[in-house]
């Protein structure tokens, strides 16, 4: 029983950066932009969040910096693909190469200029991002650990996902946004400001990815700066979007499941199931590939990629 509980807690902690990345990418794809730059945006957010946290010892500033850096990174993508109508795949890949490179570059630069040749978050902020202990609530047996024992990012992530879901599914703006993603020409004809909707979503999505990056840098890497701290989580997030069938709420379950896959190897006793670790690591990707195939076989219109995803919108070419 306690193994299951521990596995669940570990899965939540491992899945949270994926949740941010996934929700960010959903925001992008809902306006028709398949942004392969998630890894890059997360890296830039990681770097900004960590460095600001390191310098100011303030978690709020660190989060804001991570968000702003993600927005800035997304702005490059937005200008190139929305206004300049550059190829989305190439732009996204470039953003990933650039973002990962820039984050590592700044990180190494800071390392070389630090007295101890290492960067560790100061005590105050480390305490703030440590797992919470809420009086009474956290002390409830089982339930306390299950629900009230995580760090602040986890709760921000879930709230963000729910807000994004509400925004996309329940508000009029969200309806317009989805229309843009399905058929920008028709949306434009209906008087929706397509370009503006695209910009807003891509930028917010980038900011959300940035916070996910900060999580990897500040929590997963244990409060010490490590090069390549995002380490493929951005790519898994792109995959998770499919698994979550473009719904931010399903992204919560999805990232929990993927978080579970990624820590499963530590919790399944070798005496029960003995398969090499590599297969555990492969699992998320195999499952995503299967989901991809299954969803294409089913061809449901509801839970599918927005129709205009990957193609840019040129108003005079409707």
């Amino acid at each position: 029983m306690s193994t299951v509980l521990n596995l669940f807690v570990a899965a939540v902690l491992a899945g949270t950066p994926l949740l941010f990345g996934t929700v960010g990418e959903i925001m992008n794809e809902k306006v028709g932009h398949l942004n392969l730059g998630v890894e890059g945006m997360m890296s830039i957010g990681a770097c900004a969040g960590f460095m600001v946290g390191y310098q100011t010892d303030n978690v709020v500033l660190a989060l804001l910096a991570a968000f702003a850096a993600g927005v800035a990174a997304a702005l490059i993508y937005a200008v190139l693909t929305i206004t300049f109508m550059a190829d989305q795949n190439v732009t996204g890949l470039t953003l990933t190469i650039f973002g990962v490179g820039l984050a590592n570059f700044i990180g190494e630069y800071m390392l070389n200029h630090s007295a101890t040749q290492s960067l560790k978050l100061p005590e105050h902020i480390s305490a703030q991002i440590a797992n919470l202990h809420i009086p009474v609530l956290s002390d409830i047996p089982v339930l306390g650990k299950l629900l009230f024992s995580y760090n602040i990012f986890v709760y921000i992530g879930i709230v963000t996902a729910v807000i994004c879901w509400y925004y996309l599914q329940k508000t009029k703006t969200g309806l317009n946004v989805r229309a843009v993603g399905e058929n920008p020409g028709a949306a434009d004809a209906a008087g929706i400001r397509v370009i503006r909707a695209k910009y807003i979503n891509v930028l917010i999505g980038g900011g959300i990815c940035g916070i996910g990056g900060a999580y990897s840098a500040m929590i997963i890497c244990g409060g010490v700066w490590i090069s390549n701290c995002v380490n493929g989580l951005g790519w898994i997030s792109v995959a998770l979007v499919i698994f979550a069938s473009w719904s931010p709420v399903k992204a919560i379950y999805g990232s929990l499941a993927f978080g579970c896959f990624s820590v499963l190897k530590y919790y399944v006793p070798k005496s029960i199931i003995s398969i090499p670790n590599a297969f555990y690591d492969m699992l998320p990707f195999v499952i995503t590939a299967l989901v991809l195939v299954i969803s294409s076989v089913r061809q449901s219109k509801e839970n599918n990629q927005p129709a205009s995803c990957g193609t840019n919108y040129f108003r005079e070419e409707r």
């Binding site: 795949n89 470039t94 650039f98 493929g232 294409s296």
Partner: protein
């Protein structure tokens, strides 16, 4: 125009498609974008306290300063050139093969099996067999997404992306398990190839460069002068046209993706037997992603791919020299690459479109 009436006011700037720009003007525009990029990169270098001229000079001289440096540059170029040719095949028919990384790995794995366990045969024969199996490995791995795309219209961008990670973990599995070098203590690794299974050097560089240049010529001829190559570009332009013209689109997709993956597989074999002398998890090492950018920058033209991949290799090699001499992190290469690409991507817009102000130029 109707669009602007709808909102009641004309936007300050709007985008209009340009009549075809002359070749010369296009070239000037692209050159200008690269210059601008270098300028932007220079500002970045200035901010972090480096003289951009020194850096650029060191990058170039670092790639050419000695015979060994040139050889190292070429060695970086070989897999990049080959896999760029590979993805070009797929891109020509608008099949988004992001999976070069995985296809490189699969090619390398198939070849490695023979290098490790079937290496008691004449040297040339062994290399030929390894070559053939790298073609099969990479090709089959390219065939998987093509099969699902043809059958169920499965999104190939995401599918090939997933296959990259699956392939990577196959190496990890082999390294930690069945192919683990029993002689190595500590970190598990795959044994170094027997000398018999190593690619020979020609003019100081592994023979992969000959394969790469031959492939360039073959891909060029295939795409430009054969019926199949022509069919690929028809499918790339429009599936409907291709179907109308009686081109078996699905069969062609399968064939082309096999070839695309096969070429990437060759890159994997060449890297493993020619440069690494073993199968490492870094056998692809991001080359598959860079190849996509190289292919795109070269406008899917094999001759231009040679030039672009050469320039990328200079940047890569030169910045590693920057690191050893000035302590400037070699990640600066990625940053510079990114900046240059952003500018080139932006510039393509001005080749195809132009902005028109509120007054004047309307309807042109």
């Amino acid at each position: 125009m109707e669009a602007s009436k709808k909102t009641g006011r004309e936007p300050l700037l709007r985008t209009v498609k340009r009549a075809e720009l002359s070749r010369k003007k296009t070239m000037i525009l692209r050159a200008a974008s690269v210059l601008l990029a270098l300028l932007a990169g220079g500002i970045f270098l200035l901010i972090i306290g480096f003289n951009p001229f020194t850096v650029y000079q060191t990058i170039i001289s670092g790639a050419f300063r000695s015979e060994m440096a040139v050889q190292a540059t070429i060695r970086i170029m070989i897999p990049l050139l080959i896999s760029s040719l590979g993805v070009t095949m797929a891109f020509k028919m608008r099949f988004w093969n992001i999976g070069a990384e995985g296809q490189i790995i699969m090619g390398a794995i198939f070849a490695t099996y023979f290098a490790l366990y079937q290496n008691a045969m004449p040297h040339v024969l062994l290399l030929i067999i390894m070559f053939i199996f790298s073609v099969i490995g990479g090709g089959l791995f390219g065939l998987i997404p093509a099969f699902f795309k043809a059958k169920f219209n499965t999104n190939e961008t995401l599918f090939t992306l997933m296959l990259n990670y699956i392939a990577l973990n196959v190496i990890v599995y082999l390294r930690d398990g069945p192919w683990k070098d029993p002689a190595s203590s500590g970190f598990p690794k795959i044994a170094r190839f027997d000398l018999n299974a190593q690619l020979d050097s020609v003019l100081g560089v592994q023979a992969g460069w000959i394969i790469a240049l031959l492939l360039t010529a073959i891909v060029y001829i295939y795409l430009k002068y054969t019926k199949q190559g022509y069919e690929i570009s028809v499918v790339g332009d429009s599936h409907a046209t291709a179907k109308y013209a009686g081109i078996p689109v699905k069969r062609m997709m399968l064939r082309t993706m096999f070839l695309s993956g096969a070429i990437c597989g060759i890159a994997g074999m060449v890297q493993a037997t020619g440069s690494d002398m073993t199968l490492a998890t870094s056998v692809a090492g991001g080359v598959g992603f860079t190849a996509i950018i190289v292919a795109w920058l070269a406008r899917l033209n094999p001759a231009a791919i040679v030039i672009v991949s050469f320039l990328f290799s200079i940047l890569e090699k030169g910045s590693s020299v920057m690191q050893s001499t000035y302590g400037l992190s070699s990640y600066s290469a990625d940053v510079l690459q990114g900046i240059i690409l952003f500018f080139v991507l932006g510039c393509e817009f001005f080749v195809r479109y132009k902005f028109v102000g509120r007054k004047g130029g309307a309807g042109k």
